[in-house]
């Protein structure tokens, strides 16, 4: 089972996320697409951890664990980010009653 498949899969997910960021105007959806990108990374990391585990399990039985822990940390951070991000969005909504990023153009030039 070549690891390339996983690389391509997660790259595809990642890019889908980017495209979402590029094409949507709803802030929340944009944010969700970013979450999608993070998940792509997680998937890739897990795949790699598996790969390295198999490669080095003889010398180090715990090989590859650090990647899974990294994924864990990513989730942690993502959760925190979501908390902050959503509160920012809510705050903005309170002031403008809109979540359209195209309305965010007071600051330019």
């Amino acid at each position: 089972m070549p690891v390339n498949y996983y690389i391509f899969l997660s790259l595809a997910l990642f890019i889908i996320g980017i495209v979402g960021v590029l094409t949507r105007r709803n802030v929340i959806i944009v944010f969700m697409c970013i979450e999608l990108m993070l998940n792509a990374v997680n998937l890739l990391l897990v795949a790699f951890s598996k790969m390295h585990h198999l490669a080095q399990v003889k010398i180090n039985p715990a090989a590859g664990a650090e990647a899974q822990l990294f994924v864990f940390f990513i989730m942690v951070v993502a959760a925190a980010e979501v908390a902050v991000g959503l509160s920012i969005i809510v705050m903005l909504y309170r002031n403008t009653h809109s979540v359209d990023i195209n309305f965010l153009n007071r600051l330019k030039h």
């Binding site: 490669a55 822990l69 980010e81």
Partner: protein, 187 residues
């Protein structure tokens, strides 16, 4: 073509498909739901890669907590109508094209990496006990540090979420004034 491979393909297809739906579906609520589906499939992948702990956490944290949060916010703002104003076609197209190009380049670059075969049965580091041991021996420092992250996030949520008690009129005017004089900065 073992069972795992078949599973892998099925899961991958669903993952990508639902991910696409997240991006394309008009209604925010639907895209949230599609995203949840994506997360489930990704957890499936985790299980295939026998990272059982992560699979579970993924479902609980993401699909459970985070997505519900999203859904909650969307409901709160009752955005569940299909009338999201559309970006202009060209910008969308440009975005899609740019993303596609990036994908192509990366794939073309990474296509010939060394082929490690990962047979998907053995290996038990994905189990809670092993990860836990790692986490609380080698990775205790980052674990503690991430608490700082949470603290700051919490403070942030408080700072941003807390309503200002002062009457809503007076500061509005003040701010508007400020805005004005910052606006009339010639650009």
């Amino acid at each position: 073509m073992s069972i795992t491979q078949i599973l892998f393909w099925i899961l991958s297809v669903i993952t990508l498909g639902s991910a696409l739906m997240v991006v394309v579906s008009k209604n925010p609520v639907f895209s949230v739901l599609w995203l949840i589906i994506t997360f489930f499939t990704i957890s499936g992948h985790y299980i295939l890669l026998n990272a059982q702990f992560l699979a579970v956490v993924n479902i609980i944290v993401y699909a459970g907590a985070i997505m519900v949060l999203f859904l909650f916010v969307i409901m709160l703002m009752n955005l569940n109508k299909e009338t999201e104003p559309q970006k202009n076609k060209w910008l969308k197209l440009a975005g899609a094209v740019a993303g596609g190009c990036l994908l192509l380049v990366l794939v073309a670059a990474l296509r010939n990496t060394e082929k490690n075969i990962t047979e998907l049965t053995t290996g038990d580091i994905g189990l809670i006990q092993n990860l836990g041991k790692e986490l609380f021996t080698n990775f205790v420092v980052p674990f503690e540090i991430s608490s700082i992250l949470f603290l700051s996030a919490m403070v942030g949520a408080v700072v941003l979420g807390k309503r200002e008690e002062i009457s809503a009129v007076e500061p509005e005017i003040k701010k508007l004034k400020v805005d004005q004089h910052e606006m009339n900065v010639p650009v």
